[in-house]
Structures are given as structure tokens and as C-alpha cells.
């Protein structure tokens, strides 16, 4: 663990030092105009933002689902050795995690269907509507991706606890399922907001 800690602190220090030095130099030498956010936003194509949104939607959702499934799955396997009755009931937790990945792929398909071609090469000819389309697709993808990531992790950890509790005392499982349903709802919130953003 010590090696990792040194690596992380080293990289963080190097990163912030670079930013500090570059920023100071730009200020001192009156080169502030080079740091041009407007140029960046208008010169990058809206297609890049749209595709980034699509990829974030599906990939972050899948990361969340995978994380949740492995957390729950390993606990079900461990608990199932001595208490085989928990095997079938606890698959419900895995299904909740999987639902998160399904939200992600649905959103990715919806977003990608909304992307259309446009003509125009300079910022003026591309027009504000196209830029707005790109940004909103990126935003929607980001929303659904991150909310599914955390929803998947949440359901996974609760599911792992549910499996272990069920192995000890069979009557606990149904109550803990309610906790999982609440956890699963936050993924749904992300999907709703993302649809509204598009």
C-alpha cells in the first residue's frame, strides 16, 4: 500500500505544480488571451460532445452494474456454502444491479438516435442550435452515466449485506429488499432527468 500512496501523492503534486507554474507564467507574461475557453467550445465539433455523451452513458452505467454485481455475487457465493437456501432469492439483488445497465443502454440508444447531420464548418455557420444539441447530449449522457454508476454500487453493497443477513436469519431478506428498492430509485431519477435534458 505504501507504494501506491507514494505514486498517488507524487502524481497529484506534479499535476498541481504544473498547473500552478503554467498559470503563473501566463499571468506574468501577459499571455492570458491564450487560455481561450470560447475558442475551445466553438472549434470542437458538436459531434464530439454527442458521442462523448453516448459513450459515457453506456460505459459508466455498465461500470456501476458490474461493480454492484461482483460485490453482491461474492457474498452470495460465500453465504451460499453454508446456507444454500439463499441462492435463488438473492438473485433479485443481481437483477436490480442489471437494471442499471439496461437504463444505460436505453439512454445511449435514445441519444444516438437523436444525432443528425448538419452542414457548416465555421462557428457562425454551424449555429447555436447545433451547439446546443451537442452539449445537451453530452449532459444527458453524463447525468445518466454517473447516476447509474452510484446506483449500481449502492445496490451492490446493500445486496451483499442482504445475502449475508439472509444466510443468518431467513426473515430478514424481505425487509432489506425495501432498502434496495430505494437505492434502485436513484438510478431511475437519473434516467428521467436525462430524458428531460434531451
Amino acid at each position: 500500500m505504501n507504494g501506491h500512496a507514494i505514486l498517488y501523492t507524487g502524481v497529484t503534486v506534479a499535476f498541481w505544480t504544473t498547473i500552478l507554474i503554467v498559470g503563473t507564467c501566463y499571468t506574468i507574461f501577459d499571455l492570458g488571451f491564450r487560455f481561450d475557453v470560447g475558442w475551445f467550445l466553438t472549434e470542437t465539433s458538436p459531434f464530439m460532445w454527442a458521442n462523448l455523451g453516448i459513450s459515457l452513458a453506456i460505459s459508466l452505467s455498465v461500470v456501476g452494474a458490474a461493480w454492484g454485481i461482483y460485490i453482491t455475487g461474492s457474498s452470495i457465493l460465500g453465504g451460499g456454502v453454508k446456507a444454500p437456501r439463499i441462492k435463488t432469492k438473492n438473485l433479485v439483488s443481481i437483477i436490480f444491479c442489471e437494471a442499471v445497465a439496461i437504463y444505460g443502454i436505453i439512454m445511449a440508444i435514445v441519444i444516438s438516435n437523436m444525432a443528425e447531420n448538419f452542414s457548416g464548418t465555421t462557428p457562425e455557420t454551424i449555429g447555436a442550435r447545433n451547439y446546443q444539441a451537442g452539449y445537451s447530449m453530452f449532459g444527458a449522457g453524463l447525468t445518466v452515466g454517473f447516476s447509474n454508476l452510484f446506483c449500481g454500487i449502492c445496490v451492490g453493497i446493500v445486496g451483499s449485506g442482504a445475502a449475508l443477513a439472509d444466510a443468518q436469519n431467513g426473515s430478514l431478506f424481505v425487509k432489506i429488499l425495501i432498502v434496495e428498492i430505494f437505492g434502485s430509485a436513484i438510478g431511475l431519477f437519473g434516467v428521467i432527468v436525462a430524458i428531460l435534458q434531451l
Partner: protein, 327 residues
Amino acid sequence: MSIFPELYFNVDNGYLEGLVRGFKAGILSQGDYLNLVQCESLEDLKLHLQSTDYGNFLANEASPLTVSVIDDKLKEKMVVEFRHMRNQSYEPLASFLDFITYSYMIDNVILLITGTLHQRSISELVPKCHPLGSFEQMEAVNIAQTPEELYNAILVDTPLAAFFQDCISEQDLDEMNIEIIRNTLYKAYLESFYKFCYTLGGTTADTMCPILEFEADRRAFIITINSFGTELSKEDRAKLFPHCGKLYPEGLAQLARADDYEQVKAVADYYPEYKLLFEGAGSNPGDKTLEDRFFEHEEQECRNIVWIAECIAQRHRAKIDNYIPIF
């Protein structure tokens, strides 16, 4: 991201955690012990054990059951479960479980050395060894004629070699009393185990370090009390005390100089925990990590069952309630 340990605990330890919780649920309860105590014969005991988590582990044994057979089968079951856990574990859990086996290995090695010195055959000795502490070169121990050969040929390959190197040289092995060898080895083992738990930090350190400190101090007291009346000199005695307990360094220095039971008691008075010990009967240490808790309980459970079986076999019903309840 050491701030969110739940996120990656299950990668290495999820299966084992579930398994250990299952074992914990299977530990005999007060009700089970009451049932066992009611048994009239060893056959009854076997029947009652079948309905618990132990299942049919005695199923293939021939009809006249003896207590030693039950004892062996219990140990075998525990060893199988322990080996399964050990095979599934990653670092640092693997090292931790290995440390647990080293104390049994030390006992086995001492047993084998003593047996060889008294010219017992190896086939008699090997079944008497505790199975958790077995290592591959156990059979070869009797080939060695002298302790140096023993060390060079065999022990240097085992994990115990590190403990030998710390404290004994080859000449010492020859001259020393076997008990002194055992205590020196155990001291090296305890100290390295303590250092290991300490560097792991976190919950492991919080639970294991007090246990190991207690064990170290307990051994210091016992060595002192047992050495009254023998020709063990005070410097030799001081060399046997493990340094990882609360008594280090002042208490150990005083213990080394003590001459009789009263002085030992005076040393203990400085440490409130040990004062209570000397005043009453022995006590159990507090909480433990999940694996260690399970392991100690399983061992205690084996001992309880064997105690009950012995009492039944010898029809000593009065003492049968002296088992130590776990929950």
C-alpha cells in the same frame, strides 16, 4: 480510495467473509450443548452431533467409538475447513492464516525432536502431531541424527527457519533443553506475528495486538512461575520472555529478577489487568477478528465436545457442566 473500503473489500474477501459467517452460524449453541450433556453414551453423542453442522463426520467409523477417534475426526474436520479458507485467501490474509499454523508447527517439531531423542519410531509420532501444523518434511525428521543435521537438512526449508535463525545457533540446539528451544521459538514467532499485525493496521491491529500482548505476558508469567526450583538461570529466563507484551520492558526486568511467587504477584499488581488474573481464575480475552474468532471458537468447540465425550465415557457426570460456553 482508502476512504471507501466497502467498494473493494469483496474483491478479495467477499467469498471468505460469507463462508466464515456461515461457520459462525454453525457453532454449537447453548441448546446443542444441553442436548449433548444429556447423552448417556458415545453413540448418543454421535447421533446428536449429526443434527448439528457437524453432520455425518463420524459415519464411517467402526462401532465401538472411542474418545480419541472422535477427537481425531473433529480435528480433521477443522483442518479441512481451515485449508479451504487458506487456499481461497489472498495476501495479507494468507500470511495471517499461516501465522496461526506456525504455533502448531512449533509444537509438532518439538514433539518430533523429543521423540527422536528418545528413540521412538517416526510412525508412532506422526499421528500424534497436530494436523494443522504439518509440513512436508515431517517424515524425514528421524533421519537426522543430531540437531544440527536436523536444522541443516530439514528445518531450513520450512517457514520455521526464520524463527530458528533469530535466536538459536547450531551449537545451542545441541546443548539446550528441549523446553528452552520451544520457548525461544515461540518467542520469535509471537514477536513476528505481533509485528505483522501491527504493520497491517486498522481492525486487525486493534483486535489482534491486545490478544498477542496478553499471550506474551501470559507466557512470561508462566515461564517465571515454572522456573522456580529448576536450574534455569535468571539471564536465560529473561531471554525467553517475548517482547511484545505490556510487560516490556520494566515488568519483564522485574520478572527476571523474581525469586518466588510473591514477587511475581507484586509485579502483576502494577498492571491492573493481570492483577485480576492472579486474584481469580483465568479469563478469556475480548473481541477478535472474524477469522481468528471463528478459529478459536472452533477449537474451543472441539475441546468442549471432547470434554463432554470423555465425561460420558468415564461416567463423570458431575464435571460435565464444566465446558466453556461460546455464546
